[in-house]
């Protein structure tokens, strides 16, 4: 953490994601860096998906929260390195499961082109007898699964 950015981190760490309101942006690893130049704070965020419609809402939230403590930030998007589901914190993964979303697998080299290779656990009954229904779930970052034991459908956060 760069010196003089503690206040900004402090206020941004509790901001929640508009599409996954039980997770903070910090849990998701979306806020990458806060730097200071002469006049401004520069906040770098890594979009989970390039076309994620939540991004503009996130930018507005960051700006309005920082404005409260007298900072008008420059917000920059970063695609390199691309956002990875490995950046989701342990706590974030736990919260996801509690809210019925199966968290992503850790990314390993061999799973890059094929992120759904691994077994997926049902967040309702913990069974591994599950099957993929669709590559895309309710948002671009999730795919749709169903449990063959408890029969419940559920979202699985994609491994990217």
């Amino acid at each position: 953490m760069e010196k003089g950015t503690e206040k900004a981190w402090d206020i941004l760490k509790d901001l929640t994601d508009p599409e996954l309101p039980f997770l903070t942006l910090d849990d998701l690893g979306v806020i990458r860096e806060i730097k200071r130049n002469d006049k401004n704070h520069v906040v770098t965020i890594a979009p989970t998906y390039i076309g994620c419609p939540a991004i503009s809402v996130i930018e507005e939230k960051i700006a309005s929260e920082l404005k409260k403590i007298g900072i008008s930030p420059i917000i920059e998007k970063s695609f390199s390195p691309p956002w990875s589901s490995d950046w989701i914190s342990e706590n974030g993964r736990k919260k996801m499961e509690e809210f019925g979303i199966s968290p992503p697998h850790p990314r390993k080299a061999e799973t890059i082109g094929d992120p759904l290779l691994k077994d997926v656990k049902c967040p309702q009954c913990t069974s591994y007898r599950t099957e993929k229904v669709s590559e895309f779930g309710s948002t671009a970052c999730k795919s749709l699964y169903r449990c063959l034991d408890c029969k419940e459908p559920f979202d699985h956060f994609k491994c990217v």
């Binding site: 998906y49 691309p82 956002w83 669709s134 590559e135 895309f136 671009a140």
Partner: protein, 255 residues
């Protein structure tokens, strides 16, 4: 950036952005009409990705050319001949099979395109963007390939529909791999890869998937072209009138 370099980067960004915007718009037409609920989620999600790619690229283009003040101006307020997208992406969707086959052909091309930009591109912001774009286009290609195999290897009727889709799209595939003076300049300046350099990787993958679906790989020769010069087919005018309606009727409107 020198002015002739800026012109090159601007035009190059427009070509890619326009392809993504127009295919994104076509794909979004499926919203509420897909054959199953799952596909009704999948196709608009892909449309969102494609339009997101276009938006980011238009923003980069606006940074370079001050004539356009924001991405909406580029997306919604240009005239027909100012769009530089391929004829392939502007064609009507046809049936679901035709839609997924076109998506497969295009996203497989873009996957290899971004893979090359990742390795070599003099424009740093595009090089960074390509890392993320590569992952997303790979996902689209894989999604679409599964449908191509499922439908091709399905019933006699679904196989026939996929064969028809191949005949239908075949005249437009050559333009994907067409080098022109501009693409040669881009490649000489280490900006973008030459389209022909992508052909072999693309063919290997597309041919293997078609074979799995008991479908024949078509002859790819240059037949219909013009999109890169702003010469479009009839379908494009109807598409634009729909795409541009809000900004034309309510200029500068925003959310």
């Amino acid at each position: 950036m020198k002015s002739n370099t800026a012109d090159m980067v601007f035009e190059g960004l427009l070509r890619i952005a326009d392809d993504n915007l127009i295919l994104g718009h076509r794909t979004s037409e499926w919203c509420g009409h897909a054959p199953t609920l799952e596909e009704d989620l999948a196709l608009p999600n892909i449309a969102l990705d494609l339009i997101g790619h276009a938006q980011t690229l238009y923003c980069l283009a606006c940074e370079i050319n001050s004539r356009y003040k924001n991405e909406d101006q580029l997306a919604f307020l240009r005239l027909e001949h100012e769009y530089k997208n391929l004829l392939l992406v502007e064609q009507e969707n046809g049936d679901f099979g035709n839609t997924v086959l076109r998506l497969f052909c295009f996203s497989t091309f873009m996957k290899y395109f971004w893979e090359r930009v990742k390795v070599n591109c003099c424009f740093k912001k595009l090089k960074e963007f390509s890392e993320k774009a590569f992952l997303e286009t790979s996902y689209h290609s894989r999604y679409a390939s599964q449908w191509v195999v499922t439908l091709g290897d399905g019933t006699d009727e679904s196989n026939l529909k996929m064969s028809n889709a191949i005949s239908n799209l075949e005249p437009f595939l050559g333009e994907l791999f067409n080098n022109d003076d501009f693409t040669e300049m881009c490649s000489q300046n280490n900006f973008l890869p030459e389209p022909t350099s992508i052909f072999d990787s693309w063919k290997n993958e597309v041919e293997a998937i078609l074979q799995k679906g008991n479908l024949n790989f078509p002859d790819i020769i240059l037949k219909k072209r013009g999109g890169r010069k702003g010469e479009h087919s009839e379908a494009f005018g109807y598409l634009l009138s729909d795409l541009q309606y809000m900004q034309r009727a309510y200029p500068n409107s925003s959310w």
